[in-house]
């Protein structure tokens, strides 16, 4: 039995009581106060707004949610998928935002790497974090970004100093009880020449778990640094998921950012990669699988702010039942960002006729010496391919599973971490149903 979230809503009183208990630098509280005023002033997004016109949140009753309560000892502790068989440099696990366990290999700490629970570490390393915290995200972007900036209660910090190459992955699990709330913030800072891999995932108490997540991710990749970041969203099927995520990639630095989106009732995510230094590269991979009445909406932005940068986005989605995926992607090239090489592609495999996919790629180019291309496809499973598989002895379900696995192979091949490939393949394989 999970503890119910107290339905106080995200109010001024709830905020005042919360910040009175926070052990954090004054600048962080000031930032929260400013965000709270924006949150209280902003309406929920309007469906006249292009960004929200395909995503209906009228059944979200924000006043039914509030700051999370500490889960009791008797609630189940959900497990993650990504850490199986992986030798980790450290991990952080939370339940409804409350820290459950944290571990970090001393050998990396001795080299100056900082990893662990963000609320704990911000008290200790506040001055070091001030130049980064909320420098990538805009708290005033919409009501959800303001809510998160004002009320975030948990999260993960990874700081890797100049030149340190962390060659074992770090792991963060954010789990939620049924009816729980998670307001986690991820902050990653890689200084000049640093290297790290962070595997982050969400998990649920049970498949049908309800809940509310409003999160933020900030990735600061310094010059010549390299970050591999995996973010698997695997909430229960009645969970609302709102997130603003942004990576800033410096000169000659690289980011490989992989999204897995499997869970949630409705997800609205803004994923933004800003290439801010000359020669920066970004590879963005997305795997989405939806079922039931799920609605996943991802808005991606590849923003080329500096010259000679390369970005390559590949999102693949498979849909069944009455589910829906909306992907709206933009490559934006600033006037000075000559020699840009930008690509984005979204493919959707629609497994039955009630499902729907919307792919809306876009280009906004203000430089005149660039190569920017995009593509999108949506289609059903080819009956001839199914027939061929059946002639080789596969049942229809096995044939569809094989074809779906093959569909995702292109993006799976780009993911260099074996545990991530296997976890995603297994999770999707278990979800595939049989349709005539």
């Amino acid at each position: 039995m999970s503890q119910a979230t107290i339905a106080t809503g995200f109010t001024q009183d709830a905020f005042d009581a919360f910040v009175a208990e926070c052990d954090e630098p004054g600048w962080m509280t000031d930032l929260r106060r400013d965000a709270l005023q924006r949150f209280l002033a902003l309406p929920l997004p309007d469906r006249q707004n292009e960004e929200w016109m395909r995503t209906d949140i009228r059944t979200l009753h924000l006043d039914r949610y509030g700051l999370p309560n500490e889960p009791g000892d008797d609630v189940p502790r959900p497990q993650g998928l990504l850490r199986r068989g992986v030798e980790l440099a450290g991990h952080v696990e939370t339940l409804d935002g409350y820290l459950q366990s944290a571990e970090f290999d001393r050998k990396w700490a001795e080299q100056g790497v900082v990893f662990g629970s963000l609320p704990r570490l911000i008290a200790e390393h506040g001055d070091k974090l001030k130049p980064y915290m909320y420098q990538a995200l805009d708290p005033g972007y919409d009501k959800f970004s303001a809510l998160h900036a004002a009320f975030w209660t948990s999260g993960t910090l990874l700081y890797v100093p100049r030149g340190v190459m962390v060659d074992e992955p770090l792991y963060a699990l954010s789990a939620m009880t049924n009816g729980g709330v998670d307001l986690g913030h991820t902050l990653v800072i890689l200084e000049d020449g640093a290297t790290a891999t962070l595997l982050a995932e969400t998990s649920h108490a049970d498949e049908d778990a309800a809940g509310f997540h409003c999160g933020g991710v900030e990735l600061h990749v310094g010059p010549r640094a390299n970050l591999r970041y995996v973010n698997l969203q695997n909430w229960g099927s009645k969970t609302w998921h709102f997130a603003h995520q942004k990576g800033r990639v410096g000169q000659d630095a690289g980011i490989q950012w992989t999204i897995g989106a499997l869970g949630g009732k409705l997800a609205k995510v803004n994923q933004h990669v800003a290439l801010v230094g000359r020669g920066a590269t970004a590879q963005v991979n997305g795997i989405m699988f939806t079922e039931g009445k799920q609605h996943l909406c991802y808005h991606t932005l590849q923003h080329h702010e500096a010259p000679e940068c390369r970005s390559d986005l590949l999102y693949k989605g498979a849909l069944q039942d009455r589910s829906r995926i909306v992907w709206r992607g933009m490559i934006k090239v600033d006037p000075g960002a000559q020699k840009t090489d930008g690509y984005q592609r979204n493919d959707n495999l629609i497994l039955n006729r009630e499902a729907r996919a919307d792919s809306i790629p876009g280009l906004e180019i203000e430089a005149d010496d660039v190569r920017c291309t995009h593509g999108a496809t949506s289609g059903k499973v080819d009956e001839e391919q199914i027939f061929y598989c059946q002639t080789r002895g596969l049942s229809r379900k096995e044939a569809v599973r094989t074809i779906v696995t093959g569909f995702f192979q292109q993006v799976s091949d780009r993911i260099t971490i074996e545990s991530v490939r296997e976890a995603l393949a297994e999770a999707i394989s278990l979800r595939i149903k049989e349709f005539e």
Binding site: M53, R54, D56, G292, D321, R322, D358
Partner: protein, 105 residues
């Protein structure tokens, strides 16, 4: 299994008239035309437009975004750009209460 759920009282709608309602986590539109009640999803199958904000003409509702029309009795798409029906839901009146039973997912 879905069941009939009370959604409104007789007399709350003018005839002809419509009201947008939240029923068991779904948004639907309830219509009253010529003394008969009808209920459909508040979803234009073209691009998810809110049919409840559209114009009702006899038994046809027009999506406010691009003008696609739907028959409120059957959910059928009557005009482009919509080509697929929107879902309909059963309605019944008992006493002064109007009940809606959501279609199976």
């Amino acid at each position: 299994m879905t069941e009939f759920l009370p959604v409104a009282k007789v007399g709350e709608l003018s005839d002809p008239g419509k009201v947008t309602l939240e029923v068991d986590d779904e948004i639907v539109v309830l219509f009253l035309v010529d003394g008969e009640y009808f209920c459909i999803d508040d979803v234009c199958t073209h691009d998810n437009g809110p049919l409840g904000e559209g114009t009702l003409d006899d038994h046809a509702i027009a999506c406010p975004r691009h003008g696609a029309k739907f028959d409120i009795r059957t959910g059928a798409a009557l005009t482009m750009p919509a080509t697929r029906a929107t879902r309909t839901h059963e309605v019944k009146v008992e006493g002064e209460t109007i009940f809606v039973k959501l279609a199976q997912p």
